[in-house]
Symmetry: C2
Subunit: 473 residues, 2 copies
């Protein structure tokens, strides 16, 4: 599915507005760029599409076909799937909609039956399929750009760069929206899988696949229900020991569950059972889209924490208070600094390396007099302190002496990497300085957020995952 040698796009189209065109074009372009798989357009009415010879049926292709991407109207799916069977295709991604999600249950059963008969593994139907940043397989039939009536060409669904997060989404729309966010934030992806009505391949199969996928280090899931609960738990348990799984399970309230029933015709289930199951297998559950994205970024960029004692370093007292409140709410503890650290802080004050009215109890407040040097020296003390398991670094760039933020980011991130203690960054604001500051930290894999609380929640996930891993060490 992710590394086919050859792909047939059944329903490839010459009309740029059609899904069959977008998918075929993306595959052809990525294939050229990456010197990858071969792509065959299947269309009984076209001789060539984008210069590539078209076939009236997949059965007319002489070479083997590993993967079929199906974009024909729902009622034609059984026929083309039969042909895939004759052709011994291994996997079919059925993008077409119009099955159980609109009440067409019989048609879906037929598709399922054909898959079983020929041993074709099926992803979908009613899905967006997959995006693999490494192999270039991209079946998302939504355009990168849109052109407004006034002629402006705006990015609409940029694909994220290569990275270590994989995203499994029961909702295609939520999935691509997260891709949009990741691309814009510069967060890399490994694989995206939208599995729609899951007649065959489901969340558990995908999770199991990702366990062995070396380019995936963090797994992000949006799900509305889980079909094979017992097996899911078994698999998730194994995965969690090696890679964190962050799950947004929607339909957690009665209102949400009713909405799930309308949306995917799935039974959202009793939330307490999900909660318990997730806990059992080390899944990091989040409750909002923002937390899903924030947590995954932190887990992709930073190591898990060894304990829940954290330190906060700030140049604004109020931001330190907010982070402290959030930390305690999340079950984190403000580390009691080691005697040696306290001594060092006293020395820094008496030598004038930090201002004498700086607060050197955790949260450490450098005040509006903060400089890059003060940040560096204090961050080092905190990272060195054996009582500190992780750090929330708050940088409000507005203070007078924080100007050369590139240097600040360089020095701080060097230390953070050196000590290997998880650190997240909290900033506030949308000015050019604020945006650049966050981008520079993110580029150094120090996850930066737009509020002290978000930085705190992200660190809390690194703590939670670290504590889970401890059970097995």
């Amino acid at each position: 599915m992710f590394n086919p040698r050859s792909i047939a796009v059944i329903g490839a189209s010459r009309d740029p507005r059609k899904a069959g065109y977008i998918v075929f074009r993306n595959l052809v372009e990525n294939s050229k760029r990456l010197l990858g798989y071969k792509v065959y357009p299947i269309n009984p009415y076209a001789k060539r599409i984008l210069g590539v010879k078209a076939y009236p049926s997949i059965t007319k292709i002489e070479e083997d076909v590993d993967l079929a991407v199906v974009v024909v109207p729902a009622e034609r799916v059984p026929l083309v799937l039969e042909e895939c069977g004759e052709k011994h295709v291994k996997v079919a991604i059925i993008l077409s909609a119009g099955f159980s999600e609109v009440g067409n249950i019989e048609l879906e059963e037929e598709v399922k039956h054909i898959g079983t008969k020929f041993g074709i593994r099926i992803l979908g139907p009613n899905c967006l399929g997959v995006f693999d940043s490494y192999s270039g397989v991209d079946t998302i039939f939504l355009p990168y750009f849109k052109v407004l009536p006034d002629g402006r060409r705006l990015s609409s669904l940029p694909r994220p760069k290569r990275g270590s997060i994989s995203l499994i989404s029961q909702s295609g729309a939520v999935g691509v929206a997260v891709l949009d966010y990741m691309a814009s934030e510069g967060i890399g992806i490994s694989k995206f899988i939208s599995y729609g009505n899951k007649v065959d391949i489901d969340e558990t199969d995908i999770l199991e696949y990702l366990l062995y996928d070396d380019s995936t280090r963090v797994i992000m899931m949006y799900i509305e229900n889980i079909e094979r609960g017992r097996r899911f738990i078994e698999v998730a348990r194994e995965v969690s020991k090696r890679k964190p799984i962050v799950v947004l399970k929607a339909g957690r309230t009665p209102s949400g569950a009713r909405a799930v029933l309308s949306h995917t015709a799935a039974v959202a289930g009793i939330d307490k059972i999900y909660e318990a199951a997730f806990k059992m297998c080390g899944i990091l559950r989040v409750y909002t889209l923002e937390d899903l994205m924030d947590s995954s970024k932190a887990l992709a960029y930073q190591p898990p924490a060894k304990g829940n004692n954290i330190a906060i370093l700030t140049d604004g007292g109020g931001a330190g208070v907010m982070a402290s409140d959030e930390a305690e709410t999340l079950g984190l503890k403000l580390a009691r600094l080691d005697e040696k650290t306290r001594q060092e802080f006293r020395k820094l004050k008496s030598s004038g390396a930090i201002v004498d009215f700086a607060i050197t109890e955790n949260p450490i407040d450098l005040t509006g007099s903060a400089t890059t040097e003060m940040y560096e020296i204090c961050l080092q003390l905190l990272l060195e302190d054996p009582n500190v398991d992780g750090v929330i670094l708050i940088v409000l760039h507005h203070v007078p002496l924080i100007v050369d933020i590139e240097n600040l980011v360089h020095r701080c991130s060097k230390l953070i990497k050196e000590y290997g203690k998880p650190t997240t960054v909290g900033t506030i604001g949308g000015s050019e300085m604020a945006i650049l500051l966050r981008r520079m930290f993110n580029e150094k894999c120090i996850p930066a957020y737009t509020s002290p609380e978000r930085a705190c929640r992200a660190l809390a996930q690194l703590v939670k995952y670290g504590l889970y891993l401890k059970r097995f060490s």
Copy 2:
């Protein structure tokens, strides 16, 4: 304080790196631009500053001075304040730090005493003072721009445009960070007040002032403690009936309270008492910086709701589920649509105006086939429904037929204004389309957010405030 005819900047400086320069320059420039107040630089060593005649002491100015802005070192503050007293200055904003916040309690007492003796109202010390977007009074001594070592000139603390939100902040750093955010988001401000150590003017005085300030319609507060609790409640009660107050009370946990003690030497107090007091006087309490900003934007842009029955309109089922979950968690109800509305939806389906697989139970899901026309017609039905008190409008722009977003925003916001029912917008993503979509909605005063849950939380505040107001109607 906000509309002085004349201002003396005591400690005005010629050195561009100094607070005394930044404040003086901002005041002079704003005064020219707005044809406002007169500004006098006070500096015994300078003849002229920025071309304006300097005075060695405020007492040497012949004309009356309404407001003194004090930026001299802490130990010189008593002396210059005495001179302000002789000059019959009404208000002094003391920006200087180095008082009780660093243990210098005696000096602070002296300042307080001088103020009382001469009847000078004092804001501060250890504060950023005020910013008034209407009169142009701006004592924030932090620069608009910063210049990086490579020569790039980046916005660092842009001032927000004129608007209807006023911000009271016990923390200067948090205050300016919020200003940065507001400016970048295009959210307007009326007045910003940072009151620091509050030797005289405190949060209650400011709140009372804002009650009668016509340009303030929403009040946003960051506080760590309240001094005169009883009076605060009396005032807040009166204010809440006319303008919503959104409060982030930091130091709500033991860790946070300890941090408050270090930060402002204030006692954060028992949080349950604050919680009860806020509830009693209709204050909308928030727990994170993001909610503070999101709620204030919603309250500034949209009317309060008449009840807690909301409708959700989306083009992505998953986003609708997430919003439903969040709504129920916040105590909102998914409105049961009126029979007439249901009938209309059925008609829309049979006429083909909306696709027949659209979900017309609340949350309404137009699916990936959504068009601007479908959004318009369905939004109108929901706004018209007597069972619906407010709407969460979720627009995921990635779907194929949502292209002309300007038209979409225009049509939807026209309807929302026409019906006067509070509506918030949820989007996802950071692509150019996503950013433009949010900006256009925000410009039409339809508050737009980066996730379904944030849009939901914002609407919940409009509901909460609306229900509070109902008590008095």
